[in-house]
Amino acid sequence: MLPQVLFSGLALGSIYGLVALGFALVFKATDVLNFAQGMFVVVGAFLAVTAGTQLHLPFALTLMFIVVAAALIGAAIQALLIRPLTGRSMLSIIMVTIALSIVLRALIEIIFGPQPRALTTPMPTGVFIVEGVRISQLHMLAAGVSWLCLGLFALFFRFTTFGLQMRATANGHEAALVSGINVDFVNRVAWAIGSVLAAIGGLFLAQLQLASTELEGIGLLALPAVVIGGLQSIPGAIIGGLLVGLIEQLASSYVSPRSADIFVYTLLLLVLMVRPWGLFGQRELGRV
């Protein structure tokens, strides 16, 4: 049983890691804790429903549709809601993202109705069995794609000029402006990327389960994942995601499914009390 639990935990954790990476990116670039990230996951799931199930687009086009639409939505939100609040109190900014998630949820439920939708994509749904462990192909694919995205982003940050500018902006907005960086544009791109990563997570989660606004709760797990890993640390976000996936699976298998979230949030509280800069963050940065 344990290997099975570990496998599902890591596979799910990879998806959380992906969503958490988007979350951490937005936070690092713009200092905004995006409580709507969970809803962005749902948006991704319903973009998949729109393209695949309603418009009957071929899968490749569905993917492109999701990425482009999610990027546009993220950028538009930055331009319309986040930018006007530059320099305002933390509560205002948090509340705008919370209100945004309320609005997005309402819109989705109005447009698509309250019932969950099944996703039809050609993604593999079979299972193969290795030494008694049932390995779902979809889980494998989700984990694989997540790791691919994570790898690509690592390269992007390390080796491209724009990636460098994003890291610099995360380090300080005024310093970035002084150095000639178009901070507003960098922020918009960060929001677009954060939204795209959540949407890809949403695509997989909708395929693994169903597309519904219930996925928000799963998407919101990115929050504890990021904080546990270290709010300022990109690798921390990913490891945090894996950790949350593992904890969830272990708790629901060995304790009870209802208790899964509690272990995560208790760990979150402990980390906040003992190591607010996160397991992988740097101490100096944890102080606010």
Partner: protein, 364 residues
Amino acid sequence: MSGEQAAVSAAPAVRPARGWRAPVLLVLGVAAACYLPFILTERAIFGVRLSNMQLLNIGLTQVNLMMITLLGALSLNYLTGIAGLISIGHAAFYAMGAMAGAVFGTQLGLPFPVVLAGSALVGAATGVVAGLPSLRVRGLYFVLSTFALHYIVVFMLSEYQFRFFDVVGIPFEEATLGTFVLDTPLRWYFFLLVLCVLVYVGLRNSLRTREGRAMMAMRDHELAASAAGIDVRILRLKAFACSSAIAAVAGTLYSYYMTNVNAEFFTIDFAIQFVAIIIIGGMGSLAGSLVGAAVWLLLPAVITGFAAQIGSTDSAFGTLLTESKPQLVNLIFGSLVIVLLIFAPGGIAGIGRSLRDRLSVRVR
């Protein structure tokens, strides 16, 4: 001319007016508050019958629930708007209140006033625990700790519920104050009205004390407050204890009013509605909480009214109104929060204040 000078010279002009205006307004307000429930139950004003539409589809129960929500909003506004501590886990205190009510009332059968007092104590204790992280972390990290706390408390409530009751929820008996049985909405109305006024006046007066001023100083400049010899850490815990005691009492009242409570009520959305109310009403303005709670009450009612009027026509808008009413309410509520945050960060109270300033300038 600077604004300060204007304020100074305007004050004497206003004061004689205030001399008679305040008591008259107070009397009118009390009269209106006492007459309101009869309008809503008789569906008539001074003998003239009113249609549902004219009454905005509001019943007394909705007004009562609004007052219970108002208690939560007041306590959150005290914590966030005045003491500067942000909490998005306020529903946890409601849940604690529900749990305290279940233990003291349903299980131990203590009298209602004792249950309320016990719930206030439990709430205050929870508040101190919830405030503990504020001794170590600030800002975002603290907000996150309230978020985590929410999940933990609600989980405790649901474990408790499943241990001693069942999925249906926790039943609550009728509340009685001595011989006064709270068995009709009308009786609840007057009980809640008195309670709301007490809490409002209490919080307002507490702001005028040394400690209240220190709290506002702490919100604006923590360092300045520390420098003035205030132990900011104790003050924070006190603010938390006071705020969560009120919220827990509101949670108990909510449970008794609903006669049955389920852990599933206390979602994070439940917590967020309080934040939305104080943003709509006006952060830091206790009176604003009332405005925010009123919007919270009126919005669904007005939409129901629209739905009743247009619902029969089979336009797309009509179907939208009838079939997605709760979603529409949320859509408008959420959008209102966003629009106010961007264009009027002081909320409706802030808009009112600036209008009044403009008027008083014009009058002079």
